[in-house]
């Protein structure tokens, strides 16, 4: 019987395969980036600070009780309706806005499309959303509420941005981040414009216990 030698498999390219694998994983691995809802806290008021008097109609009150139920402007509400209600409130534009820093009197909101009802907010830059929660409220619900309110602002900003610059606000922000030089200054102005038109004013009231 003829002895048949088994032919050796050429292993020379194994190294290439291993390197290929190594490089593939190196490139595709992303460290998980921490992301979340960002918030700016207000500074600690001095002891003799008197809170400004704000008209009732400019405050949109959201209460969350310990059973995670919502009470919005003294009516019970489901979470899914919150966004619409918030948009209606912010976009109302029933009166004049805040006077400018240089003393110019506040102008009525010319980009609002709301009902202009005198019993709701005057101007987006006066509209304050106040979230009051119970100490026993679930954090998850609290975040959901914050998220819905932020969504309302996003909808409005996107709408305005589409009208003024023909691009959505989220797209504009992304472009601003990627831009350089002169283009960056130009885009910054646009971003600031939209931001000041619909400033996010969400305040957290001290929780009830």
């Amino acid at each position: 019987m003829a002895r048949r030698e088994t032919p050796e498999i050429n292993a020379g390219s194994m190294a290439d395969i291993a390197f290929l694998l190594l490089i593939f994983f190196l490139v595709t691995t992303t460290m998980n980036v921490d992301s979340g809802i960002s918030k700016k806290l207000s500074e600690k008021p001095p002891p003799d600070y008197k809170p400004p008097i704000i008209k009732e109609k400019n405050i949109f009150e959201v209460n969350i009780n310990r059973n995670n139920e919502l009470l919005v402007e003294d009516n019970r509400m489901e979470l899914s309706e919150l966004k619409e209600a918030a948009i209606k409130f912010i976009d109302n534009g029933g009166g004049n806005g805040k006077p400018g820093e240089d003393g110019t009197p506040g102008a009525p909101c010319d980009y609002c499309e709301g009902e202009r009802s005198p019993s709701s907010s005057d101007h987006p830059n006066k509209a304050i959303i106040s979230v009051q929660s119970d100490r026993g409220t679930d954090y998850g619900t609290y975040i959901e509420v914050q998220n819905e309110l932020l969504k309302a602002y996003t909808v409005l900003r996107n709408r305005l941005c589409q009208q003024r610059y023909n691009i959505t606000y989220s797209e504009l922000e992304k472009r601003y981040k990627d831009s350089r030089g002169i283009e960056k200054d130009d885009l910054k102005k646009k971003v600031e414009d939209i931001k000041t038109s619909f400033p996010q004013i969400i305040s957290d009231a001290e929780p009830t216990s």
Partner: protein, 154 residues
């Protein structure tokens, strides 16, 4: 003796069959020795709530993280309200010193850009978060981020 004499044709090829082994060994060595710099959790990994309107946290060195959730150790109770700072279970009273220590590690100009990220469990109560928030405000650490998962848009 002609039996042992073999004709040599050119250079013998270097045996490269063990090269993959070397590469794999390197790969495993780096895999094993790489540690992600992350604090070991004394609480159960918080189940983060999900949200859509989120912002990415940039400059990792300027972020200090506070964990809130259920302690692994049962002596701390089973409520989802334990706070972890660095490697220890702590109370809200410890938050200011935690922030001040984090500030020492960065240059003065960067302090206003420091962000505190709160990683809290869905079932934590808002009261605990508020306690932390009040303490943060006391030390003027005003940038805050509630860490969430990316949720589906509905």
């Amino acid at each position: 003796m002609s039996k042992f004499k073999k004709k040599k044709k050119g250079m013998p090829a270097v045996n490269t069959a063990s090269l993959p082994d070397i590469v794999f060994m390197l790969l495993f060595f780096f895999m094993v020795t790489t540690t992600m710099r992350e604090t070991s959790l004394q609480i159960e990994a918080p189940r983060l709530p999900s949200a859509t309107e989120i912002k990415k946290l940039e400059h990792k060195s300027l972020v200090s993280t506070i964990y809130v959730g259920k302690a692994k150790d049962e002596k701390y109770g089973t409520a989802y309200n334990r706070i972890q700072l660095n490697d220890k279970i702590a109370t809200p009273e410890d938050v200011p010193s935690f922030i001040l220590r984090a500030r020492e590690e960065v240059s003065e100009g960067e302090i206003p850009f420091m962000t505190t990220s709160i990683k809290a469990d869905k079932e934590s109560s808002v009261g605990t978060i508020t306690d932390i928030r009040i303490k943060l405000r006391d030390v003027n650490a005003l940038k805050l981020s509630y860490s969430t998962q990316t949720g589906a848009d509905n």
